[in-house]
Symmetry: C2
Subunit: 461 residues, 2 copies
Amino acid sequence: MDAKTAELAKEISAIVGAGNLRQGDEVRLTDPGEYAANTGADLMVSPADTAEVAAVVRACAAAGVSIVAHGGRTGLVGGGATTAAQVIVSTQRLNRIEALDPVAGTAIVGAGVTIGTVQDAAREHGLGPGIDLPSRGTATVGGMIATNAGGLEAHRHGVMRHRILGLEAVLPDGRIMSDLSQVLKVSAGYDLKHLFIGAEGTLGIVTRAVLRLAPLQPQGPVMMLSLPSGEAMLETMRIARQTGRLRASEAMWKNFFDFGTKDKNWSAPDYDMDAPLHFILEFEGGEGAEDAAGAVFEAVIEQFPDATGVLAQSLSQAEAIWTLREDTRIVDRQNPGAPSFDVSMPISELPAYAERIRLALEALDLVPLIFGHVGDGNLHVMIPRAAADIPPELMAQIEQILMAGLVARGGSFSAEHGVGTKRRHLLDAEADPVKLALMRQIKAALDPHNLMNPGKVVDPA
Amino acid sequence: MDAKTAELAKEISAIVGAGNLRQGDEVRLTDPGEYAANTGADLMVSPADTAEVAAVVRACAAAGVSIVAHGGRTGLVGGGATTAAQVIVSTQRLNRIEALDPVAGTAIVGAGVTIGTVQDAAREHGLGPGIDLPSRGTATVGGMIATNAGGLEAHRHGVMRHRILGLEAVLPDGRIMSDLSQVLKVSAGYDLKHLFIGAEGTLGIVTRAVLRLAPLQPQGPVMMLSLPSGEAMLETMRIARQTGRLRASEAMWKNFFDFGTKDKNWSAPDYDMDAPLHFILEFEGGEGAEDAAGAVFEAVIEQFPDATGVLAQSLSQAEAIWTLREDTRIVDRQNPGAPSFDVSMPISELPAYAERIRLALEALDLVPLIFGHVGDGNLHVMIPRAAADIPPELMAQIEQILMAGLVARGGSFSAEHGVGTKRRHLLDAEADPVKLALMRQIKAALDPHNLMNPGKVVDPA
């Protein structure tokens, strides 16, 4: 640690107390989460409240040292990566649910609260945050704001951006912007909270947020259908959506399905394990739910005689089905650094896109694992091959295949994971040039000295 | 018209054709809509497409002449007011529904399309834009984006901001930002469309938008309940929301109810016309809808024996009830320029707020008409007295009463009407100072010469 960092450490220690500042190897010994380079910094501070965050930011700004905010470290694209001369500001102590108003349907929470904690607290009032994702026990509200997280319920309740009524953020110069609106309807000038949502900590550090809660419906029927084609999937989606009760619609193309079923040793009587596509549907519970789900099941089987299906008869059967979809860690464990993508497009484009990339990637001797949130037009694609075994030219080919025509069709190269470091070149290549120039202007206006998470998303103009 | 304006008129005429440029009195002869000062400008141009808008903006920028975009002119706070030396850019010819994808549930439309036109086109596919307001036949998509319009369905589908997937805008320097995303899930850098939504044309002119459509449920039961108190209203709201079918929840406090019922000569057998509060509930139709609504009705009457109610037995009865709520023009006709407010707050705060302002305003010999969207915590307050009869000191007192504690409780001084010219002093007084300073920084970064709708919302820093 150089002298400048040591001096800054003293200042920060005076702000937060020595026990809340880790230095050097103490930082390296913390769990880096989903991205190894997260713990590269020599200093990691855990402020107790917004005022402490602001004081730390002012100290760093005065020293010209840049800052990277960390939540649950579940990000997949390197938005939290740090180098030695940086300071990590962890939100782990901003972990209080400060208020929950069941009548208004709002919760005011610290940025370090996990979404799972919000779910638990809201559930007691028959409410939920309207957003859910596999890393619910670790992902923090602040981190989900930073990446505009999506997850499993977006087609019903929107993405993180739509669940946030207000927020508080510490700006790069240490000022505190307090916009803790608790209402849905605001038409009172520029709605600046949306600048911070999805900015991955490059414009400021979100310290508190007001979440909008939604009435929680009981969990209902879960089924998995094997389908003969992508068109059958769209038609199944249409039928399922008509119930008005569809909660989740997760598709697994064959390669991915095989990966999971072999690992978990899953099968079911009369279920067609060889179908090209497998579709999990979950419905809301309550009166009439079983009938509605049963009617969907029958309508699909009738229209597509090749389809088969399994309707979970117990919670554990439902969980076994969900695990096939949610447990993707094995891919990465078997293939460290395996390329992984997160794209979105209009639902109507999904079947043709999946087929096109599958054929093109298989022609390169790759076995793409394709799965995702059909209701949101959001696909995840993993290539089960270790990063070390993929030369740069091949990686460029893979990206070219995945990106071709995506933005032109109204889709996105990053649906819910963010830009971070891993997707910067795609942002540069795929974004509208005027929009990109504007992003850089905004970054320059708010963070002229590039102190907030530099190197992520965009550089100042 | 001065020589500079005449010269600019020639240039603009060359861009759009003489038939699409009005000058001087021709502008004054157009319908100013809801704000008399809308038609103060000497030039009003109607470009045919985005390229023409950009060319007009470049011509105005080169001449140093400022621009005010106009949609349907239904704005209530003077966001479209113009002076002689300005140019009105009307979106009236950007009036095409360019695409509608019923599978993906999206529509790409010109900014000048009315929301009613979108509703009609989507209805053919069993879809709707998820937003509705009384001025549906006139209000344009572009204008609703500019003010982040709310309306009657916000508690279900969000406000305009939540219905927009992508947009295209002409910037103050004539560049075109094209962000016509068609997907809900995007985490690809700063989501700049949100800067333009609610900016009232001060950062650029929105020319096209991608709207998210929602499955349309058939219209269902409409009822009106007379209730003994605000607490009864909250409890009724809770009961109604549990059905999962609540479409609209519009309250009318006694003064406003009296105003409408006397004008329309409305009454119903056994309905308590003297109750302090009247509550319209509309539910989605479909199987079980009548039963669900009936159960709400009975539960409320049981819990509040003083409550009475009327369940519409026909479409015309339902319309008669809705007219009581929606037809507010008479207030303004009888009292030209009557003060009107549009505030929001957590639902739980509504009863106490309404009671407090009623008493305080009545103490000033004023008769506040209070009504609004309960599900959104959004109240409208009109004072039936001509502007000419309200001295500035009284107006200041009225505003003080209405604003007291509103922002501190997480509410807003402008829920869905915007800031325009009428609410600028409230924005200055009520907004977080850091947020306000940031707004000005953003305005300065995007529009340094203050060419886009100057004098509205904020001035550049």
